[in-house]
């Protein structure tokens, strides 16, 4: 197989583009896709300071690398989630990447700063770990961006992620989520702008970017991801893609151009009732504390109660 651009031997085939590329031309292809996404959706303006949410996985490290290659002023934000070996390893990959390239990495360790970890929060709230995890990530990304004076938060969601989330939302007609599933959410009501510059790249491409650029990333999955619905949707979509290349791209981009506008009014109405959280000042639709402050308080109460029970037992025993 030969490279479509230069006719040298190809390293990767991308069937939805009916193309194959050699390593240098593949890098060019990826950069062009990201540039196109940024321009098409007005993601980052000249002089904007970008905060990249990095996890140590392929997507976020590729994104950071690409934004820097494109000349953007982009720092990284890593959240310590306290998920055993997965978290300690992911920190190692992230720090090595930042140090090797002389990039600025901001770290927020949830256990140290807020006194709980994601598995612990899941036990206390009796919900899946991803629920406390997602809530904490959203909150802390916003907070770090506002505190650090960043204009925009960039996340590594790729075409496969967006197509899988869309698939799940359509299966259950989650109209509120459909209204918010956009590659750019503008800054509003105290939230920074949020952008997904990788929406034109599949995860096979972001992984290939890392391999070809020599980026060592965490291949192992978070233990809480194993067997979740999101993975099932991705597998189903990949079976369709295999039979009909380009299906995922059409599914997502046709949604954006033809359907998403029918769902935005509802999403906007929800934003209207926002007020500042009495604990941290973050915008929230809740009465007093925002969802994150409630979570922190709830875990603290559970920990105190447990300590009291233990002390009681020690006293009587």
């Amino acid at each position: 197989m030969k490279c479509r651009r230069c006719r040298q031997p190809a390293a990767i085939e991308i069937r939805r583009h009916n193309a194959a590329f050699c390593p240098p031309c593949f890098e060019h292809h990826c950069i062009e896709q990201v540039r196109k996404a940024i321009d098409e959706f007005d993601m980052v303006g000249a002089g904007d300071r970008v905060l990249v949410a990095v996890s140590g996985g392929k997507d976020s490290l590729a994104l950071w690398d690409m934004l820097v290659s494109l000349g953007y002023d982009a720092d990284g934000l890593y959240l310590g989630l306290g998920i055993g070996d997965y978290s300690s390893d992911s920190a190692v990959y992230t720090r090595a990447f930042a140090e090797g390239r002389g990039l600025k990495l901001i770290e927020v360790d949830i256990p140290t700063e807020f006194g709980f970890d994601i598995p612990g929060a899941a036990l206390v709230t009796k919900r899946v770990p991803c629920s406390a995890c997602g809530l904490s990530k959203r909150h802390l990304f916003n907070q770090a961006a506002l505190e650090g004076g960043y204009d925009v938060v960039a996340t590594g969601h790729n075409l496969d992620d967006e197509a899988a989330v869309l698939f799940g939302n359509v299966l259950r007609w989650q109209t509120d989520y459909l209204g918010r599933q956009l590659p750019v959410l503008p800054a509003a009501h105290g939230f920074p702008r949020k952008v997904k510059p990788l929406v034109r790249l599949g995860e096979r491409e972001t992984a290939a970017w890392c391999v070809l650029r020599g980026i060592d990333y965490q291949v192992e999955e978070c233990p809480n991801a194993v067997g979740n619905k999101h993975l099932g949707y991705k597998e189903a979509l990949n079976a369709i893609e295999d039979a009909s290349p380009g299906s995922k791209h059409a599914f997502y981009f046709e949604f954006l151009s033809k359907a998403s506008k029918h769902f935005t009014p509802q999403a906007e109405a929800e934003q209207e009732g926002l007020r500042p959280c009495t604990g941290c000042g973050a915008p929230t639709t809740d009465q007093e504390l925002c969802a994150f402050c409630k979570l922190v308080a709830r875990v603290a109460r559970a920990t105190q109660a447990e300590a009291a029970t233990k002390a009681g037992k020690a006293g009587t025993g």
Binding site: A20, C133, E203, A207, E221, K234, N238
Partner: protein, 65 residues
């Protein structure tokens, strides 16, 4: 050839020479969901792997939300 697989990490021996596409079929993996890595580069589906080669078949699907 030696084939390194992930999740769980393991190694299998597959006799070569063999085309990458045939290897993936034999392993029953969807070509959309993996990369085939040889040394520090990638190989396409039509590449022929020799019996002495070592390759990694790396899944690219992540489940994090």
């Amino acid at each position: 050839m030696k084939v390194l697989l992930r999740n769980p990490k393991r190694e299998v021996d597959v006799p070569g020479p063999l085309r990458v596409s045939a290897l993936l079929e034999r392993l029953a993996v969807n070509r959309e969901s993996v990369l085939v890595i040889k040394g520090d580069t990638l190989v396409t589906g039509d590449a022929v792997l020799a019996d002495a080669d070592t390759v990694e078949v790396r899944p690219v699907i992540s489940g994090g939300a």
